[in-house]
């Protein structure tokens, strides 16, 4: 019963009066006495509420929702999230052996992140998919202001647009060809932040440096560092463009360039044996996206120039890749760089089917024929990979996604007959919270 309201006071006053009348034989109780008792009760409730409110400020608040587990007290917060992807991967045609058809866990990534006071943030994401556990993200933030945060640890190199997209939010099961030329995770220190009323995002940092598409190692194996920077302007939410770039020096026989894979994660373009870095390596990637209503379009281009050596031959090899990814949400939800959130989650035996999204992609990765001239690529090797893909994403709710992709990859060789097309059907069940 709420006794702080007028009606409550009348009711309680009546009750107290009735009690008082009952006790009248023992002691005369005046209306003033009843009024005082009522006021005392109200004040005690008021003080209890004040005490409860004060205590609530000191008590950690725990929330468990579709966004994971959060424990928060003041400026201190701990969050637990996870991303699990279970794939079925099937190849059609004769180019890929049937032994490649498989079920596999693509990602099993719990994430522990949070803040210690206003200044310090952190994130730790291990990876349990694959034959051994590894660390995907591990960094500490010093958040001086929204415009200036220093992040140190293992982070995504700030170059490729789709590489920077969350692993659970990409339109296709596997990222497109430009990601093969962009840096993956690297160890380093970067300054990042939002400027101009959060419309301009920037990152600039220094890293150990990694090979194209590579997840950087635990230490630098050549002592030379790579600088990278990215600016991305998003004047209105959903429409943005920018450029990412990196520059560094790699040298030595221990640093052979990494082969480039197809979107099916199979070898596409291979470097010849005894090829290694021998000088500067530079990447430049203009990029942008448009997400308006249910429609989304993401495009990026990247060129990766590397000074390579093979025996007595030395030269600059400039490989490039591009892609355009389109998406359309049939059920009317907004398309987004961060994924689709269904308006009506799927419910068994009731209305609500979640969100259905169609996706299509075209892209190409081309190796520089200068690489053939210096012996970095075999003369009869693959010169370019062309990918055409279509897919369907079914978002059952904000946590579960089922995806089916069909990809056809064509190859053009430097000389001689082209490698046969690679065709694949990938499926995925994804849980993310």
């Amino acid at each position: 019963m709420n006794i702080t309201g007028t009606y409550g006071r009348v009711i309680l006053g009546g009750a107290l009066l009735a009690t008082s009348v009952g006790a009248a034989a023992q002691q005369a109780v005046t209306t003033e006495d009843v009024d005082q008792r009522l006021r005392i009760l109200e004040r005690k409730l008021e003080l209890e509420k004040e005490a409860a409110d004060a205590k609530a400020k000191d008590t950690p608040s725990t929330s468990l929702s579709d966004k994971g587990l959060s424990i928060k007290k003041g400026d201190n917060e701990f969050k637990f999230n996870a991303l699990v992807q279970f794939d079925g991967r099937w190849f059609t045609g004769d180019t890929v052996p049937t032994t490649a058809d498989t079920f596999t866990f693509r990602r099993i990534r719990p994430t522990f992140q949070g803040s210690v006071g206003k200044l310090v943030g952190y994130r730790l994401t291990p990876e349990f998919a694959g034959s051994s556990a590894s660390i995907v993200d591990a960094y500490i933030d010093l958040k001086f202001s929204p415009a200036a945060t220093v992040r140190a640890g293992k982070v995504k190199g700030p170059v490729g647009l789709e590489r920077l997209q969350g692993g659970g939010a990409t339109a296709f099961i596997e990222r497109g060809l430009p990601t093969e030329l962009a840096p993956n995770r690297e160890l380093g220190v970067q300054l990042q932040g939002d400027l101009l009323d959060k419309t301009l995002n920037y990152t600039v940092g220094v890293y150990n440096g990694s090979r194209d598409g590579e997840d950087g190692g635990a230490t630098d194996n050549n002592g030379r560092k790579e600088v990278a920077a990215r600016v991305f302007y998003e004047p209105t939410p959903g429409i943005g463009f920018g450029v990412g770039a990196s520059h560094g020096s790699k040298r030595g026989a221990t640093e052979a360039p990494r082969n480039y894979a197809t979107v099916d994660r199979r070898t596409g373009i291979s470097y010849a044996a005894n090829t290694s870095y021998d000088g500067d390596a530079t990447r430049i990637s203009p990029q942008g996206y448009v997400y308006t209503g249910p429609f989304g379009l993401l495009g990026e281009y990247i060129v990766s120039k590397q000074e390579l050596v093979n025996g007595a031959n030395r030269g600059e090899v400039s490989n490039n890749a591009w892609q355009v990814v389109g998406s359309y949400v049939l059920t009317g939800e907004d398309a987004s760089y961060r994924g689709v959130k269904p308006k009506t989650p799927f419910q068994s035996g009731a209305e609500g089917w979640g969100a259905l999204e169609l996706v299509a992609r075209i892209g190409e990765l081309t190796a520089d024929d200068e690489g053939v001239a210096i012996g970095a690529f075999a003369a009869t090797g693959v010169e370019s990979i062309q990918n055409l893909g279509v897919g369907v994403n079914w978002y059952l709710n904000s946590n579960v996604r089922v995806a089916v992709n069909y990809n056809q990859t064509a190859f053009s060789n430097f000389s001689g007959p082209d490698r046969e097309d690679e065709k694949s059907i990938f499926t995925r069940l994804q849980l993310q919270f």
Binding site: Q36, R39, I40, E42, R43, K44, E46, L47, A51
Partner: protein, 330 residues
């Protein structure tokens, strides 16, 4: 010649790099000092700016004095403490945030103003309250805060105790008297300002055991005819004390401003503001100016009656002390 020119140029350039500093101080105070420090902070900031060219901004935190002291011990970054009693500053000193002999650093035992405890009753004094005895009578509803959290409440408690000890002749009888008095307390607020709200705004109780300045303020703000101040035959000399928190000011590099802030409480302007807000000034000039506004009554000191704050806290307000014995029993 070239060297001279360089030196001259450097000397001329020095003023370009010299600039006035800005400081922010946090004054952690007790409940009823809000109005005093609002005026005092403005006055000090102006005086400090005029004297040093530096800008100082003072932020305030108010609450029950004991509770405030615990907050500072727990990490509240107070540059200065202006608490209700020395015992609460001692608690902060015990946490090694300032030296144990902090009271020697400023005049008057670091108590720039004093006060005492009086009774605030409703207009016409319907329950005919005259002295402490009346507060323990059946049917009298008494408002006082919780001595576990409020410095003012500790002064109240000890004043009642000493009155009874003198009148009835023993500690045991004093304890019995105070127990009877607390049976008449229907609500325990955490601080003096909360008790003012209970008595004045919520209309609860017949008598409010109050800081003298708080009683004057209530009369002034809520109507001279609605409340009356009753001066008991005996009360306690309440000495709110002030101290710089060394650990904090050294870390924040605000020592100079913090020390100047507390010293300014002893200045003519600081003392005048204390008197204006019904605190009893210690400076001769302001003391003379405001003498007539304060009632004359017999006052005893905590040192004389209870052997100082350390002993008083141990006997009466520590866990298992006399307050716990009488209040938990009720």
């Amino acid at each position: 010649m070239k060297l001279k020119a360089l030196v001259a140029a450097a000397a001329l350039a020095v003023p370009l790099f010299a600039h006035a500093a800005s400081f922010e101080l946090l004054n952690v105070s007790y409940d009823p000092t809000r109005e005093l420090y609002k005026d005092f902070n403005d006055a000090f900031a102006k005086a400090y700016k005029a004297k040093t060219g530096d800008t100082v901004t003072i932020k305030q935190s108010h609450g029950g004095s004991g509770k405030q002291a615990r907050a500072v011990v727990d990490g509240l970054q107070a540059d200065v403490l202006t608490l209700a009693l020395a015992g609460d500053v001692d608690a902060v000193a015990n946490a090694k945030l300032l030296p144990a002999d902090w009271q020697k650093r400023l005049p008057e035992g670091s108590a720039p103003y004093t006060s005492t405890i009086v009774f605030l009753v409703r207009g016409g004094n319907p329950k005919k309250i005259k002295d402490w005895d009346d507060l323990a009578k059946p049917g009298v509803s008494v408002i006082t805060p919780n001595p576990k959290t409020s410095g003012g409440a500790q002064w109240n408690y000890l004043a009642a105790w000493e009155f009874a000890k003198r009148k009835y002749g023993s500690e045991a009888k004093a304890k019995a008297f105070v127990e009877k008095l607390y049976k008449n307390v229907p609500v325990l607020d955490t601080g003096a300002r909360g008790s003012t709200t209970t008595f004045v705004q919520r209309g609860i109780g017949d008598v409010f055991i109050s800081w003298e300045n708080e009683a004057f303020l209530a009369k002034k703000e809520f109507g001279e005819d609605k409340f009356e101040i009753v001066v008991p035959s005996l009360s306690i000399l309440a000495q709110p004390t002030v101290a710089v928190v060394d650990k904090v000011v050294d870390k924040k590099k605000t020592r100079a401003a913090a020390e100047a802030y507390l010293q300014y409480l002893y200045s003519d302007e600081g003392q005048d503001l204390a008197g204006k807000h019904y605190y009893r000034p210690t400076g001769a000039k302001a003391k003379a100016k405001y003498e007539s506004q304060f009632p004359k009554l017999e006052l005893f000191t905590i040192d004389d009656a209870f052997g100082g704050w350390t002993q008083a806290k141990k006997d009466h307000f520590s866990d298992g002390g006399t307050f716990d014995q009488i209040y938990l029993k009720n």
